[in-house]
Symmetry: C2
Subunit: 315 residues, 2 copies
């Protein structure tokens, strides 16, 4: 087996109160990645569809993630240097959308390469390689998108030193509506406007909500999930970057959304709902709020993707 | 039914990373409370064994909690003013121990009075009355001891405005070791030394740990529970108030404790273990660490009390 096609999903990081620690994987949108193992050393990105990514391959997230994997592979398992990969990326997840575009590239290539090499690495190791890609993309080797992309479902990053990630239970009926306003917010800018110190009282409210959100997922208690989707720390600062953010939130909740917030560092906004029917209505409301604005946008309605990145075919 | 005997349990608040939001109930120690309903209006505390509590009854936590209940009862259900209670408190939980002495008094009287009145109030209402007692005892109407005392098990206070408390799943094999060094730390003092602002990076670590602790309880994953029992915010400040705190913690973990920390605002220290056997060994180690010190102390080994406050007999 030398050629493989991978489907790598979009992801929502932060989940309101879960800033920097909770993330979930979506069924759509999804990147397609074609990966070929060759005897010609090195990593080459032969095609990128759907967007323009850095021409310098060494700054491309897929390149850097796969390089990290290949380096470890050659150190540990294989003295032979005659191994290389060719990559084709069909990007359906827009870079800068806030739904894990770089994570999808990173997760996809390391997941695919691992299969082509005979599965030498476990999922936690793959997450580490993909985090190296995230370091290039956003300046920090964060895991809150690559973890759900690789593990599927809803994930929690307990700690980075040491890396400790757990997959949470999530109810089957939990659906996600996404609106991606096509404006540019750089992750690094969105991070810079945050405060370095926060009030203890706000922090306590935030960790009360996180505990309750996790409990709500395990209890399949949609009302508790709904009440927990609050963020008093990051959202009040970042909301100003997103047109009509509060109107979106209010109107989506009026129609039945459990709650939501900014996806990752934005500009996408996510809303959770119980069931496909309500989620579709919520997405319609997102369209209604944005259609009068002079901002291009895309919307998606998706269940939680329990499997995460997967291969669609062996070529 | 006019006379009742109540057993009201000790509780551990905070649970390391769960500062101000998580608490659990113990089987021992337990306060005994005798409660009599009479036709003579007013609340009278006729006897307090085991400690000296404020002579001014209006500053007694049992008095204040029961008064809050009685006021609401007379407003809502009963115009007749000829109703009163006599209380006898046998305090086995020392005031100022950090294992919920005031909460046990508060929870016990409101739970007992509710039975004697024919159960007009639900558990959440009882928690509100007991919180009024906590306001007198510690200056803030906190719920992280009265909630587990009344609901049993491990509880999480998501929010105070509105009051939102959920009972978490907890594995049967989770046991608690407690050491109560008999030194005085006032809750108000322990609170004053805390910082009003904390680093965002520390807060994120704390809520990663809280999320993982809740997930660990539901997964019955003792290793995850163990890794989550970290507190970078409150423990480093309060630990200095407790003799040999870090030695206790290190030696208890060496013998097999999952982890632990300061119970409430101290001075008691708690450790969680998987199973009674390890918990007993952990309690022995606590004794070994403290026996050379010139500090009186008591130790307890207890499972988690799933039921909380209960009545032992109708007199």
């Amino acid at each position: 087996m030398n050629r493989i096609k991978i489907l790598s999903p979009a992801t929502v990081a932060n989940l309101a109160c879960g800033f920097d620690v909770i993330g979930l994987a979506l069924d759509i949108p999804v990147d397609e990645i074609l990966l070929y193992k060759s005897n010609s050393p090195g990593i080459r990105i032969n095609r990128i569809d759907g967007t323009t990514l850095p021409k310098d391959q060494k700054k491309n997230v897929a390149f850097v993630s796969l390089q990290a994997l290949l380096k470890k592979y050659q150190q540990r398992f294989y003295k032979e240097k005659k191994i290389g990969f060719e990559i084709e990326l069909i990007k359906n997840i827009h870079p800068g959308s806030g739904i894990g575009s770089s994570a999808a590239s990173a997760a996809g290539v390391v997941y695919g390469a691992n299969i082509l090499l005979g599965n030498p690495f476990n999922r936690m190791q793959l997450i580490r390689f993909a985090m190296e890609g995230e370091r290039i993309a956003s300046g920090s080797a964060h895991a809150d998108n690559v973890a759900p992309a690789i593990m599927g479902g809803v994930t929690l990053v307990r700690s980075y030193q040491p890396l400790d990630i757990t997959k949470l239970h999530s109810p089957n009926e939990l659906w996600v509506s996404i609106i991606h306003p096509q404006i540019e917010i750089k992750t690094s800018d969105a991070r810079e406007i945050l405060k370095q110190k926060i009030l203890m009282t706000d922090a306590i409210r935030q960790w009360g909500n996180i505990g309750a959100l996790v409990a709500g997922l395990y209890q399949e208690n949609y009302e508790l999930i709904s009440r927990s989707l609050e963020d008093f720390i990051v959202e009040p600062i970042r909301a100003m970057l997103i047109p009509a953010f509060y109107e979106l939130k209010i109107r989506c909740k009026e129609i039945g959304a459990l709650g939501g917030g900014i996806s990752g560092s934005g500009p996408s906004v996510f809303m959770l709902s119980k069931g496909n029917d309500i989620a579709k209505k919520v997405t319609e409301v997102m369209n209604l709020v944005y259609s009068p604005l002079k901002v291009d946008y895309k919307t998606y309605t998706s269940p939680i993707n329990q499997k995460g990145v997967k291969f669609s075919e062996i070529l």
